[in-house]
Amino acid sequence: MSEDKTISPETPAPEPVSKAPETPAPAAPEPRPVPAAAPAPAAAAAAAPKPAVPAVPAAPPKPAGPKPTDASGKPLVAALAAAVPGSVLDAYEFVGETTVKVDPGKLVEACRHLKDAEGFTYLVDLTAVDWKERDPRFDVLLLLHSFSRGQERLRLKAAVGESCPSVTGVWLTANWMEREVFDMYGVRFDGHPDLRRILTWDGFQGHPLRKDFPVEGIDTGAAIYPERYPEGGGPGPKDPNRKVLS
C-alpha cells in the first residue's frame, strides 16, 4: 500500500539472533558453574542468611551476571555435613539460592535429616538434567522448602547415572515427580513403589527429554513393530489404504 514508506535505515544486524535457530543448545558437558573455587569474596555472600528469596536478586545487573559463591560455611550446610558425614560434596549460593551437591549414595539419608531435623517438610520440585557427555550423566535436582525456617529453600543436587535412590520414603510427593524423571530421562529410582511411565504411554521407546532424543520425536510404532510400520509412519507399504501424496 503506502508505497514509499521509509524503510528503517539501520537494517538490523541479524547476526547474533539469526544464529539462534541453528545453534543447538550448547551441550557442553561442563557440569555446573564451578563455585568460584576458593571461598569467594565475602561481599556477595552477605545475603546468605536471608531467608526469603528476593524477587530480583541483589546482584547488580553487570554484563557478567551473578556469580556463584561458596556456601559450605552456612550453618545449615555445615549441620548437614556433620549429621550425615560424607553427604555434602560441595555447596554454593547463586542468585540467592543455596545449592548443595550431595553424594547420591547418601541422598536419602541427607533428605531424611533435612526433613526431620531441619524442617524441610515440603518437597517443592524434583527434576533432572541431562549432561549428555558427562560421566554420571544426570543431575537430579531436589528443591526443598521449610515452613519453620522462615520459608527457606534449599536445592540438593546429585550427579547420578541411570539409577538413583528414591526419596519417596521421605516425601510422598516425590512419587509422581520421580516417575516423571524416569519417564523423561530413564533414571531408575531404586526403592520407588510404582516406577512406571507417567506422561508417555507404557510401550513408549526412549526417554524424550534426553539430549539425544530428537525434538521432532520418533516414530514409536516403527520403533516397536519395525516390520509393520514403514519409516515415517502411516499404513505399511503393502497396505491398500496407503496413499502416496505427491
Partner: protein, 388 residues
C-alpha cells in the same frame, strides 16, 4: 352400529390415541419450553434458530432422532435392550390416561368423562401400581446395555424409585383420607364440596408428594440415575436414536403425570379457584380443561426452575432423605390429616388455616431476623496474615 360398540370400542380408542399423541407432542413441546425456560433463567436465549423463538426445534430434534443410527452395544441383551424404553414409556402414558382432564364431554353422541380410561373407583391404586412398573424399564435398560455406567444408573434408580414410592404413597393416602375416595373424579368433587383445595390442609402432603414426584421422575436435584457429571448418561448412556427419544419422552410424560396427579389431588383438578365462591364465577369462561392444563403447566415450570437452581444430591443422601426425613414426616402428617378428616370439612379448614398461619409466621420471623453473615465473611474474620 350399536351404541355399545361406539361406547366400548371407538370412544376409548380415540381417547387412548389422543393420550399417546398428547404425551408425545407435549413431551416435545416441553423440551422446547424447558430449554427456553432454562435459557431465561440462565441469561441466555436457548434454541432460537428453527422457527419463531426456536419453537420447531423439537420437531427438528425428533426428525434427527428418528433418522439417527440405532446403536446397540455389541454384547447387549438385544430384546431387553429394546424392551427397556417401552417399559418406561407405557406406564407414563397409562398413568396420564387415568387422570381426568375435565368434566364430562360428549363425544360421538356419547357422554363420557374427559378421561382416557374410565373413571375407575380405584384409579389412585392403579396409578401407584402402574407407575412403579416404570422402574423395570430403567433397571432393564441399565442392565441390558452391558456397560458399567448404565448398570450403576439402573441400580441407583431402582433404589431411588422404590424408596420414594413410599412417602409418595403416604402423601396420596393423606389426600384420599380427606376426600374419602380413591376415584380421581370424586376427589375433585370432594374438594368442591369441602370448599377448599386440599393443598391447604394437605400442605405437608403436597410438599411430600411433589418432592417425591421430582425424585420419581429423575429430575434435578434427584437426577441421580442420569447424573450427567457422574455417570455420563446413567441408564440411557448406551441408547441412541429413537430408543433414546422414547426415554426422553417418558421422562417428560412422567413429569406431566406427576403434575396432573398433584393438580387433581391437591389443586382441585379442572376446578377454577374457589369453586364455591359465586362472585368468582366469571372465571368459568375458561373451560375446565384449560384450568387443568394451566395448573399442570405451572408445575412443569417449577420443575424447570428447580433444575436451574439446585445441585444434585448424592446417592446415599438421597436415600437418607427419603427414608429418614420424608417417610417419618409423611407418617406424622397422615396422622394429623386423619384426625382432621375425622372431624369433617370443618376440621380440614382448621388444619389448613393452622398450617398456612404457621408457615406464614415462620417466614415473617425468618424475615425479621438480622441478616445472617455469609460464610465467607466469617472466614475473613478468621483471616491469618503471614508477612515474610
Amino acid at each position: 352400529m350399536s351404541e355399545s360398540l361406539v361406547h366400548y370400542v371407538l370412544v376409548p380408542f380415540v381417547k387412548g390415541l389422543l393420550t399417546v399423541i398428547l404425551v408425545a407432542t407435549a413431551a416435545g413441546i416441553l423440551t422446547w419450553i424447558e430449554r427456553r425456560g432454562l435459557g431465561r433463567l440462565q441469561i441466555r436465549k436457548g434454541p432460537n434458530r428453527v422457527g419463531p423463538a426456536g419453537f420447531f426445534q423439537w420437531i427438528a430434534d425428533v426428525v434427527k432422532l428418528v433418522f439417527k443410527e440405532d446403536v446397540v452395544p455389541s454384547r447387549a441383551e438385544k430384546v431387553i435392550h429394546l424392551l427397556g424404553p417401552l417399559l418406561l414409556f407405557t406406564p407414563a402414558v397409562v398413568v396420564l390416561g387415568l387422570v381426568p382432564w375435565g368434566p364430562e364431554v360428549t363425544l360421538f353422541g356419547v357422554t363420557t368423562p374427559l378421561h382416557a380410561a374410565a373413571d375407575l373407583n380405584v384409579a389412585l391404586l392403579l396409578i401407584l401400581a402402574v407407575s412403579s412398573i416404570g422402574v423395570y424399564g430403567i433397571i432393564l435398560a441399565g442392565w441390558s446395555s452391558n456397560s458399567k455406567y448404565p448398570l450403576l444408573g439402573g441400580l441407583r434408580s431402582a433404589a431411588q424409585l422404590i424408596s420414594y414410592e413410599v412417602p409418595m404413597g403416604f402423601a396420596i393416602v393423606a389426600a384420599v383420607l380427606m376426600a374419602g375416595s380413591l376415584s380421581m373424579v370424586e376427589i375433585i368433587e370432594a374438594q368442591k364440596e369441602a370448599g377448599i383445595w386440599f393443598v391447604f390442609p394437605g400442605l405437608v402432603a403436597f410438599f411430600l408428594y411433589f418432592v417425591s414426584g421430582v425424585a420419581e421422575t429423575n429430575r434435578t436435584p434427584f437426577d441421580l440415575p442420569e447424573a450427567e457429571s457422574e455417570l455420563v448418561g446413567g441408564f440411557h448412556t448406551e441408547y441412541s436414536g429413537f430408543r433414546w427419544a422414547i426415554f426422553f419422552m417418558s421422562e417428560y410424560g412422567n413429569m406431566i403425570s406427576i403434575g396432573a396427579i398433584a393438580t387433581t389431588l391437591f389443586f382441585g383438578g379442572w376446578l377454577r379457584p374457589f369453586p364455591n365462591v359465586a362472585w368468582l364465577s366469571f372465571l368459568d369462561v375458561i373451560p375446565p380443561f384449560f384450568w387443568f392444563a394451566g395448573k399442570v403447566f405451572l408445575f412443569l415450570l417449577v420443575y424447570i426452575w428447580f433444575r436451574a437452581t439446585f445441585p444434585r444430591y448424592r446417592f446415599d443422601q438421597l436415600m437418607a432423605l427419603g427414608w429418614k426425613a420424608l417417610l417419618p414426616i409423611s407418617l406424622a402428617n397422615l396422622f394429623l390429616v386423619a384426625l382432621a378428616a375425622l372431624w369433617g370439612a370443618a376440621g380440614l379448614k382448621v388444619l389448613g388455616a393452622v398450617l398456612v398461619l404457621l408457615v406464614a409466621g415462620g417466614l415473617v420471623a425468618a424475615w425479621r431476623r438480622p441478616a445472617r453473615a455469609s460464610v465467607t465473611t466469617r472466614m475473613a474474620a478468621e483471616k491469618v496474615e503471614v508477612r515474610a
